[in-house]
């Protein structure tokens, strides 16, 4: 098999979100027709909260999983582990290629809620980032890029955010 690099856009520690149904982003280096699964597990439970096949074929680049598409909600204060798994051989799951991170929903402080309410859209990523809300910083940054794909400044912002947690830039 060709070499396939898979990464989740998550910091190496428990990343935070204030959203009940955040989006999870992941990146794959090559297009693939192999089965790809997404799993979300609650650290307190033995059964996954979500275990779903991502419809293929998968193109190379950045992918977004919206938890609201799956009706999954995060409880505050619980750390969830999430994985993306590429399954080259369903009979030998030891060959799986797996990348994962941890996400935890936190309650925003009143001050933060207030500042978010007053912020302009382009200020949100910085607000979230400085509040330590990694997933939300990434999400708003990515949403701005989706809306204005030609704007280099936005891409630079996201690249900076990614590099701060040791991730390479996620070019589509």
């Amino acid at each position: 098999m060709d070499s396939l690099a898979l990464s989740v856009l998550a910091p190496d520690h428990s990343g935070l979100t204030i959203r009940e149904q955040p989006s999870l982003y992941w990146v794959i280096s090559n297009p693939t027709a192999l089965a790809v699964e997404l799993t979300l597990t609650d650290s307190r439970a033995t059964e996954p909260v979500l275990e779903t096949r991502i419809p293929g074929p998968i193109r190379a680049g950045l992918h977004r999983v919206r938890l609201d598409d799956y009706g999954v909600r995060l409880e505050p204060g619980v750390s969830y582990r999430w994985y993306v798994t590429v399954i080259p051989d369903a009979g030998r799951r030891s060959k799986d290629i797996l990348a994962g991170g941890i996400i935890e929903r936190a309650e925003p402080t009143a001050d933060l809620r207030d500042r978010l309410a007053r912020a302009r859209p382009e200020e949100l990523a910085s607000l979230y980032a400085e509040a330590g809300l990694w997933y939300d910083a990434l999400a708003v940054s990515s949403e701005l890029i989706e809306r204005s794909p030609g704007e280099e400044g936005l891409r630079r912002q996201r690249a900076a955010l990614l590099s701060q947690v040791g991730l390479p830039d996620a070019r589509e």
Partner: protein
């Protein structure tokens, strides 16, 4: 909330953030290209600014891999954690104690391993006497004659061996620990400090392991002092170890 380690986590967020995080400099930089520090009270975030992520001081897969049995019906399940922060897992001690936690009594073999990232052989590989009672466990390196060299990020693990013939079934939790020289000024402060103050001084300086050890030793000597328990709970919560923090 962040009483114990508030000062520390600002310092811990890394060199790149230092300039924007230090209170004095944050003032000078207000309106510059850096986003304001979280607690500086500044409101303006210039839209051209690059977002600067301030990682919370809490749990992690990179620094810490949490263990847990995966639902085999009928088998006991438990949580295994090493008490380690994800980032900046520091000690000043040559022979610190390592703390770990298990949520249930267990009679399976348990191993503690310390690996030197530069070496091929583990620095230590020891079976822990079993059965292990549920709760927080202490593993003093001094009892095993092991010394940490300065500046090396050792990885330590606790492994529950559920089937010696199928080590792929091991349940493992791990974290890092690095011995550092005391930051300037801390040595003098520590010397004059009361035992009760040590945990705060260490936490403030970002020396997580020593803060935990100091507070845990106090708890051992005064187990009925509820305030000490609250302090340790805060310290653990700040490192993302919420389940351990809630356990008494």
């Amino acid at each position: 909330m962040r009483s114990l380690i508030k000062g520390a986590w600002v310092l811990l967020t890394g060199l790149a953030l230092l300039a924007s995080s230090l209170p004095g400099m944050a003032q000078e930089r207000k309106g510059g290209t850096q986003p304001p520090a979280a607690d500086s009270g500044a409101k303006a975030t210039p839209s051209a600014a690059v977002p600067v992520y301030k990682p919370p001081l809490r749990g992690a897969p990179g620094g810490r891999v949490g263990g847990g049995t995966r639902g085999t019906p009928g088998r006991d399940t438990f949580t295994l954690s090493v008490l380690a922060p994800d980032a900046n897992a520091l000690t000043l001690s040559e022979q610190p104690s390592l703390y770990w936690f298990i949520s249930a009594d267990i009679s399976l073999p348990v191993e503690v391993t310390i690996a030197d990232p530069n070496g091929t052989q583990p620095l230590l590989e020891k079976r822990v006497p079993t059965p292990v009672r549920r709760g927080m466990q202490r593993f003093p390196l001094a009892d095993h004659g092991v010394k940490l060299a300065s500046g090396i990020p050792y990885r330590w693990s606790v492994t529950v061996v559920s089937d010696p013939n199928r080590r792929s079934r091991d349940i493992l939790a791990s974290g890092t620990i690095e011995r550092v020289e005391p930051p300037a000024g801390l040595g003098a402060k520590l010397q004059g400090a009361s035992k009760a103050n040590l945990a705060f001084l260490y936490a403030d300086a970002g020396i997580w392991y020593d803060a935990l050890a100091a507070i845990s030793e106090l708890i051992e000597s005064s187990p009925n002092d509820a305030e000490l328990w609250r302090h340790r709970e805060a310290l653990l919560t700040q490192a993302g170890l919420t389940e351990v923090a809630r356990d008494r």
